[in-house]
Assembly symmetry: C2
Homo-oligomer: 230 residues x 2
């Protein structure tokens, strides 16, 4: 595997490739060209070839890509074979939704424990994952290898829990709190799931389309008026 610094945009596309290849593999498709793959993903073949070239040579001129081999390669690039251990902090709705429905192990990640302050759920298990008390949090982090933390606490606890994680040597956070928990200079690796950013982007695209439609309608109206005048 080549060792160059790969751009964020390329990294962001890799999981999409992986999902699509997974799907193709499940459909029994064993081979695909970069143009077919491009069509499925709305990308140009050259874009796809360029993305993959950041990591080495996977395709073969005139043959295309072996679907399952490419899938394995991309999974490896994304680190799914490294068996990262995760803890989840905050078993509210979002935390519970993740524990109930999100299959961490599908993505090479072991969710080894959850933590909460609610006495009613401490000691229980969801999908085989124990919920422990926040009182035992630091101790657990000291005694177990934890590669990343899923932060799903209420907004007002986001920063203080981040401090505890940092003090205990956790270097990567999957952040569901909608709070910016680390400045640009922070050594933490933070992956934010900002729901609001996503909704606002959608809102922009709806507005853009509405404006285009309104402009088109106005244009047609003007043309019609000009025609009627003649």
């Amino acid at each position: 595997m080549k060792k160059i610094k790969v751009s964020n945009n390329v990294i962001r596309r890799m999981p999409r490739y992986l999902r699509k290849l997974d799907e193709l593999d499940a459909q029994g498709i064993s081979r695909i060209s970069s143009s077919e793959l491009g069509n499925l993903l709305g990308l140009t073949p050259s874009q796809i070839r360029q993305d993959f070239s950041c990591f080495g040579e996977f395709g073969q001129q005139g043959y295309g890509y072996n679907v399952s081999a490419l899938k394995e390669e991309i999974a490896k690039i994304l680190g799914t074979d490294r068996g990262y251990n995760a803890v989840l902090v905050g078993v509210g709705n979002i935390g519970r939704a993740l524990m109930d429905n999100f299959c961490f192990s599908d993505w090479g990640c072991n969710l080894i424990s959850a933590f909460d302050v609610d006495k009613d759920i401490i000691g229980r298990e969801i999908n085989g994952v124990p919920i422990r008390s926040m009182d035992d949090f630091s101790g657990f982090l000291a005694e177990n290898r934890v590669d990343l933390a899923v932060l799903a606490v209420p907004k007002e606890y986001a920063l203080s829990v981040t401090d505890v994680l940092t003090e205990n040597g956790i270097k990567a956070i999957w952040n569901f709190t909608n709070v910016d928990i680390a400045g640009p200079e922070s050594p933490l690796i933070v992956e934010n799931l900002h729901f609001s950013d996503s909704l606002l982007s959608l809102s922009y695209y709806i507005s853009e389309r509405n404006d285009e439609n309104a402009a088109r309608a106005a244009r047609l109206e003007r043309q019609k008026a000009a025609k009627d005048k003649k």
Copy 2:
């Protein structure tokens, strides 16, 4: 407002600007330069000026930006003043988390109804939003202006519910199902919240850092060995 087609990367940064400006406004900061704003967001001042220039001229040479005016402008660009109506389909964990904790109206969006098949929750309200039966779904869509749908149903229903939405003229979907519900040629506007893509990106960055650290350690080891030999 200028009407040019703005790149996706610029659109994706606008919500981040809005969040930061909101924060600054709440702190009573009324004026900020592009370099200060850049420092806070890890962007260069020229990047920021370029992003804003896609939509018109907001700053003033030597003065910087008026925080609250810029905030209003960006909110408008993102369509938060348009009062979009949303429905939510699927009141499972994710759907419930959104209804409980995500303040749609903060982002200019009215969540007017939720839909589910579970008789135990049909007829109830969460945060003032009624949960209706899926039996009434098409009828509701026909009788109400709905600008977007929040899709939070189990994976296996993602495509069939998307069909119902499309048949009823819904053109924008906020998709939490982790299923690709529209091909690149689809006229639907789809905003995906793929949790797995986000986790995989995090996994990549952790792996990248681990590899860098391992390479550094190996280099130091070699240097030490070479020194010991002398």
